[in-house]
Each structure stands twice: as structure tokens, then as C-alpha cells.
């Protein structure tokens, strides 16, 4: 099961502010007050906490809910938050958490063992009558047990070594019993999401704007954070502004303080006015294209290698992106856990690519397109709307491949057609992939047949796959997910990176950041590991 290792990184801003404070610059001490005007690109959807993976959702939930534990974004260690301490048994099937006393939800009800138990019962087992789905963060969940009002114990059917970190992600935000009692269809109304976080939803115009207001009595931030007590801001005003040029224009014209999603080509004009670009990395699987070997056109490793060698990353980055988009050196980001550099497997060598395609039997035809046994080497991929300039990247790759005599059709499609076609390797031999997450499990969930099944192996959601299955890869992935020993687990992560690239299943392109821009007076903005903003320590210097 996939896990969003989402962590709340207040450190960025905190580091800055504490450094200044110790240097005696009293003027830079955080000031209380003010409302942050935050422009979102998309409206949030369902705010059931496990749906927090969607960026707009995470951006809201992160301010409204607290988690049991806090993952330090620098050290990636798990630190106390709503839980003051915890114990785990040896084979990671029993977790016991001691809760912090005196914590309340914004509706006044206490955050106690029973409530926390109910939260994880729901996330771990789902709630069929209310149509609440299972969280991808909680695996092998069996049941909970309330030991005393502030002690709760979770039991798992099988070892679940990832659960502790799983309690720190946005998808495990603790909400009140009244929220959990609502059917799934009603959880898109932000005012119904009752959490214990530093901000409270005050009002919402669905699909347009959202007002958060500070909780004055908030006094239970992550224990090791420098900043304690209430958030500095009085409130946050989210406004959905879909049009890129309007978000940037509004920011530069002083109508907004902070915006999400800014493209590389706009960075220049933002920085020219000394506004700040924030491009936190997402620490997961790099922005890549992957092949579906069940499709006979790319079933030959030589073809895949050739296509990989024909991708010129430097050209893509210099044409479309900026310094905030580091070149990929493995299938996962260099800041991801278990990263091992694989640069030797990621070269650019068009001559060798041509030789490999010749070897594989794909000869240049009269129309300039390679073919084998009458089968033309024409590939198809959908653009991926959430990924930055996916359409431009694919067009550039198509251009690079066309020099070899390979055609890549880039499709823009509606959500329905895309979902259906992406399950069929014959229709989409190439796909765009990326996922932000700070845990080695990310590799497994990306490729394992019963998870995201990016390569479309047999045994997954798709019934269109005929034969393709890679047992060796799956064995490595299993090891990543189930190996309790940290060193052995990291070894498996390294093996997976090397194996995927040796087989040329994926062509990683760049380490994808989430790009934000803020006005110069916005201080102390922090990001969790996959780039969702946390405004607990944010303040306005004006």
C-alpha cells in the first residue's frame, strides 16, 4: 500500500527566524497578526483526511488537523506531537501510543484515546455504510484498543513497520467523531472538517474561497518545534484562481501574498521584483516516463534502452525548466530515503540508441519511421496535467525520438478516457509517472502489480494485460515493504533503482518540485517533505 510520508516541515522558516533572533535582530522577530491571502490553482475536493494526497486538499488539511507524530523534515526522524510517547513490539504488529493531555478539537470535544482509535479504525478498515475508503497509509490493520483515556493500542494482522511513520502524514490527520460520522459524500464541505490544528475553517464558498482563522488556545504543536502556542497569522484566505497569469499578476500587483503553482518560465518576472520562489522537493519518484512491456513494441529491452538513451535530459531542462528542477540521477529523488546515484545508467547516446534499434530489428522505413515485421514504432502517451509542463516535456521527447525514427503521439485527454486507456498497454505503451513521498515504500507502490502498477504487470487492476510480469522486480519490491531491518531494506531500495534502470523500464527526467511564490514580506513559510505548505510558523513582516 502506498503511503504518503507527508511530514510537516516547519524547519525552514523556523531555522531562519531562530538564527536571526539569536543574532539579536529584534526587528526580525515574528510578528503576530494579519491574514495571508493564498491563491490556489485548483479547488479542494473531498477532505476526508486520507484524500490529503491531492495538493489543494493537503494545503488545507495541513493547517486544520494535527497528527499523532511529527516527522522532522531535516532528519526524517519521528518526533512526538499529539502522542507524547509510543512503544512498538518486536515484529511491528502492536503499537501503543500515549496521548498528550488537554488537546481539544475546535468543537470543544477532547482528543482522547477513543477518538484516535475511531480515526484509525476508519482509516485502516474503511467504513462501508458511510462509503469512507481505506487509507493507503495504514496496512494490515486489525483492530484498536482503548487502554485508558490517554492510551491507545493498535494491532496488525501482519508486521507493519511503516505504520509509525504513517501516523505522521497528512492522510492520518486526526478529526473529530462528528466528522467521521458524516458520509463520504459530505466531506467536501471544509466547514465540516473538525480538527485540532492551529487553524479552524471559518467559512467557505465551495469551489471558490475558504477562510481559516487562528485557534487562540492552540498549544500542542510538535513538541520539538521552536515555535509553540498559537500560529502567528490571524487567518488564511484561500482563493481558487485557476488562470496562471492571474495568480502571478495578482501576486506581483500586491493583491495576494502567496501563490501555488508557478511555472519555470514565470520565475524570471517574479524574481525580478524580488519576490521569493519556493520550490521544495517532493522526495519521491522522479518525474519520469515509463514503458509498458506488455505492449510488443516495447517488450524488447533493447528498444527500451534505445529510447532511454535517446532522451536528452539536459536539453529538456535547459529548454523548459529552471534551476529549481534538478536533473534526475535515479528513479527517485536525490533527497529521497535510500537514494543511490545511477548516473552511469542514464546517459544520452543517440548513436548507440540507433544501433540498439537496428539490433532489435526495427529498421528505418521509407516514411522515416522504424518498423519491424510491418509493425511501426509509433508510441502513445497521455500528458499528465498535474505535472509541470508535461505537454511540453512529452513534445520535446517526441522531437528527440523522432530523430531516431520513432514517433511519439502525445494525447491530451479527459479524465475518463485517460483512466480507461492508461490501463491498456496497447493504447498507452508510454506513461508519465511521478509521486511525491518521503519513504522507500514509494518505489514498491509505484511498480508493484497490486499497487499503482505503473508498468502494467499482470495481476493488477487492469484486465487488458496479457502476459507481462517481472517476478524478480516484485521480489525486490516485496523486500522493501516487509523487511524490518533498516540496512537490508535500504539495500533493497538500491537494488530496485539499479534493476528498474537496467531493464530500462523507466526514464527518469527531473526531480519534481512543487513551486510556490510569495511576497517578500511573507516570512517563515515551511513545507513538509512532499512540498505542501504549513503556515503554522508563517508571519507577515509589514
Amino acid at each position: 500500500m502506498t503511503r504518503y510520508r507527508t511530514l510537516i516541515a516547519f524547519s525552514l522558516g523556523l531555522l531562519a527566524t531562530t538564527t536571526f533572533a539569536t543574532a539579536g535582530l529584534a526587528a526580525d522577530a515574528p510578528a503576530k497578526g494579519g491574514t495571508l491571502v493564498y491563491l490556489e490553482q485548483q479547488a479542494h475536493t473531498n477532505l476526508y483526511p486520507p484524500a490529503g494526497g491531492f495538493y489543494p486538499n493537503g494545503g488545507v488539511l495541513n493547517q486544520v488537523t494535527d497528527k499523532l507524530t511529527y516527522q522532522n523534515p531535516k532528519t526524517l526522524e519521528i518526533e512526538p506531537w499529539l502522542a507524547t510517547s509510543w512503544t512498538v513490539n518486536d515484529n511491528a504488529t502492536e503499537y501503543t501510543f500515549k496521548l498528550r493531555p488537554g488537546v481539544t478539537f475546535s468543537d470543544g470535544t477532547p482528543v482522547d484515546a477513543a477518538t484516535v482509535a475511531k480515526n484509525f479504525d476508519t482509516f485502516g478498515l474503511g467504513n462501508k455504510p458511510l462509503k469512507q475508503p481505506v487509507s493507503e497509509v495504514v496496512n494490515n490493520y486489525d483492530h484498536s484498543e482503548v487502554i485508558d483515556p490517554l492510551t491507545v493500542k493498535f494491532t496488525f494482522k501482519k508486521p507493519s513497520p511503516g505504520f509509525l511513520q504513517g501516523t505522521s502524514v497528512i492522510g492520518s490527520g486526526i478529526v473529530s467523531l462528528s466528522t467521521l460520522a458524516l458520509p463520504f459524500e459530505q466531506l467536501g464541505d471544509a466547514t465540516k472538517i473538525i480538527g485540532s490544528g492551529p487553524f479552524v475553517v471559518k467559512a467557505e464558498t465551495i469551489g471558490k474561497s475558504l477562510d481559516l482563522t487562528v485557534r487562540e488556545d492552540y498549544n500542542w504543536g510538535p513538541a520539538k518545534l521552536e515555535h509553540q502556542g498559537r500560529a502567528y497569522l490571524d487567518g488564511i484566505n484561500y482563493i481558487v484562481t485557476a488562470e496562471d497569469s492571474v495568480r502571478i499578476g495578482a501576486l506581483l500587483a500586491g493583491q495576494a501574498d502567496f501563490i501555488r503553482q508557478i511555472q519555470a518560465y514565470d520565475e524570471g518576472q517574479v524574481e525580478a521584483q524580488s519576490f521569493t520562489i519556493y520550490a521544495p522537493g517532493t522526495r519521491g519518484v522522479n518525474n519520469s516516463i515509463v514503458f509498458r512491456p506488455d505492449n510488443p513494441l516495447v517488450s524488447d529491452i533493447k528498444v527500451r534502452k534505445a529510447l532511454s538513451l535517446a532522451v536528452n535530459r539536459d536539453e529538456i531542462l535547459s529548454t523548459i525548466f529552471s534551476k529549481n528542477y534538478p536533473k534526475a540521477t535515479s528513479i527517485i529523488a536525490s533527497t529521497a530515503i535510500g537514494y543511490v546515484a545511477q548516473e552511469d545508467k542514464l546517459g544520452y547516446d543517440p548513436e548507440k540508441a540507433e544501433a540498439l534499434l537496428d539490433e532489435a530489428g526495427f529498421k528505418l522505413g521509407a516514411d522515416g519511421i522504424r518498423a519491424k515485421d510491418g509493425q511501426k514504432l509509433i508510441l502513445t502517451s497521455y500528458e499528465s496535467l498535474p505535472q509541470p509542463q508535461s505537454r511540453a516535456v512529452l513534445q520535446l521527447i517526441a522531437q528527440q525520438w523522432s530523430k531516431l525514427g520513432v514517433k511519439l503521439n502525445v494525447l491530451a485527454g479527459d479524465a475518463g478516457s485517460k483512466v480507461v486507456d492508461e490501463l491498456d498497454p496497447l493504447k498507452t505503451p508510454v506513461a508519465v509517472a511521478m509521486v511525491g513521498r518521503a519513504d522507500p515504500d514509494v518505489v514498491k507502490s509505484q511498480y508493484y502489480p497490486t499497487n499503482r502498477n505503473l508498468l502494467l504487470q499482470k495481476g493488477g487492476v487492469s484486465d487488458k494485460v496479457k502476459t507481462f510480469s517481472d517476478d524478480r522486480l516484485n521480489a525486490i519490491l516485496d523486500e522493501i515493504a516487509s523487511q524490518p531491518d533498516r540496512e537490508k531494506r535500504l539495500k533493497a531500495v538500491a537494488d530496485a533503482q539499479a534493476y528498474v534502470l537496467d531493464q530500462a523500464y523507466a526514464v527518469p527526467i527531473f526531480e519534481e518540485p512543487q513551486a510556490f511564490a510569495g511576497a517578500p514580506y511573507v516570512k517563515g513559510v515551511a513545507f513538509e517533505a512532499v512540498g505542501r505548505p504549513a503556515f503554522y510558523s508563517t508571519w507577515l513582516d509589514k
Binding site: 536539453e315 535547459s318 529548454t319 523548459i320 509542463q389 513534445q395 494525447l411 485527454g413 475518463g416
Partner: protein, 295 residues
Amino acid sequence: MTSIDTFAHLTSTTAEASPRLGKRRGVLKTLRNFPYGLALAWLVLTLVLLWAIVPWIFTSYDPLQGTPGGQLKAPSALHLLGTDSLGRDLFARIVYGAVHSLSGAVAAVGVGLVVGSGIGLIAGSVRGRVDEVLMRLVDVLLSIPTLLLSLSIIILLGFGTLNAAIAVGATAIAGFARLMRSEVVRVRNAEFVEAAFGSGGTFGKVLWRHILPNSLTSVVAYTAVQFGWAILQISTLGFLGYGAPPPTPEWGLLIAEGRNYLATAWWLTAAPGLIVVAVVLSANRISQSIGRSAR
């Protein structure tokens, strides 16, 4: 059905807005009133048509292959209209895009014209029950939001220039049907048609010889207006993310995608925008002249 008839009447006459200035003037003045605008309109359409047929004589650049590193260059002698985000020559993309945009608009108007006029012709000539049923059907088409209709059609047929054109055409059916019907009804009641029936003409013959040709003029004028409208509609679909798949250099898509670079590379949206304005204006101007000559 007053409103419907009147609407059709109005739409047919919107095309002929310009007053007959020349008629009140002397013969000498008519010479000075050479329709420069009309000539220019034909010139624009001819040029654009040539782009569509023989684009390669207008530019030596490839519209699909860019020069990496040469992206977002401002207009210069080397690149008349600058380059886009992938280093492709914008002028080449506009020239080669003509065939996509024009054929898209023609297909869209074609769908509306053939289906719509067909419905209108049958409704107007047969009258009675058939007329009622057909016109209520047209009402249904009008009552479904056009956006929903065209987006659904694109999703059903898949993305592409032609499919977008069909989607736009489907929303034009109702207008054509109403106009055609009202024209047919008008002509049908005319004395010479009554006479033709009176002198023993069969229904089909009268329809073909008298009704159809006499009702066509305003439909043709309307078609010219719709042609420009279709280009804009296809462009709007591109703006909403339902346009042709890349790297098709369809004009609407160029404007839609170029808008993101308004602050950094204004020519990317201004140049194709001006071309569309010129073509739509020309189509309207020609439509006016058709409408006027009909009176």
C-alpha cells in the same frame, strides 16, 4: 412560435448590418466608394487559403521541430514572429496551422449547415406534426448548455481537430435549423410558389426549384458568419483544455497556450490572435456583402 421565427429573422439579418450607403449618393461618389474593405477581406481569406494549401512556399521552418536553446525568442528578421517555448518558429506554426483551423471551421459549419438546414427545410416544407416534433428537438438542443454538449461530444469522440469541429458544429445545428425553417416558410407563402403549386408542380419539384434556392441566400450569409464563430469556439475549447492534441499548430490552441506567456512573450498569443481576428472580420465582411446582394 413567434420568438423562434423572429430570432431566425434576426440572425439572418445580423449579417447584413451595414447600411446601403452608396444608394443615396451620386454616381461619381460610388467610384470613390470602391469596397476596399471587402477587397481586403477577400485578400485575407485568399492568403489564408494559400497557407492551408501550400504552406511550404511561405516559410522554410518546420512547424513541429524546434531548435532547443532557441526558445521564446522575440520577433526578429530570423524569426518573423519569434519562437515558442520549444524553439519552434511561430510564423511557421501559424502558416501550417491554417489547414487545421480552416478545415476545423469548415467541418464545424458543415455539420451545422447540413444537419441544421436539413431539419429546417423539412420542418418548414412539411409543416404540421413533423414541424412541431423537429422544432421541439431543436429546442432540446438549445436548452442543453452548449458547453456541456460540445465537451461531452469531444469526450465521446476523442480529442482531435475534427472531433472538436464536430462538437462545435453540433451546437450550431439549432441556429441553422431555425433560420432555414423561417426562410422556407417565408418563401413558401410567396405568390410565385403558390403559383408553382397551382400549376401542378409536385411537392419535391417545387421544393427543389423554388423554395430551396430562394431561401438559401440568407443561409449562405449566416454560414459565413458562423465560419468565423466556429474558429473562435474551437479556440475556446483549446482554452478549456479540450483542443487538438499537441503538437498540432491549430490557431485556437496557439492563442490558448500562448496566453500563459502574456507577460514574458506576448507575441505568442498576440500574433495568432490577430490572424484569427483578421479572418473572422473578413468572413463577417463577406457575409455582409452576400446578405446585401440578396436584397
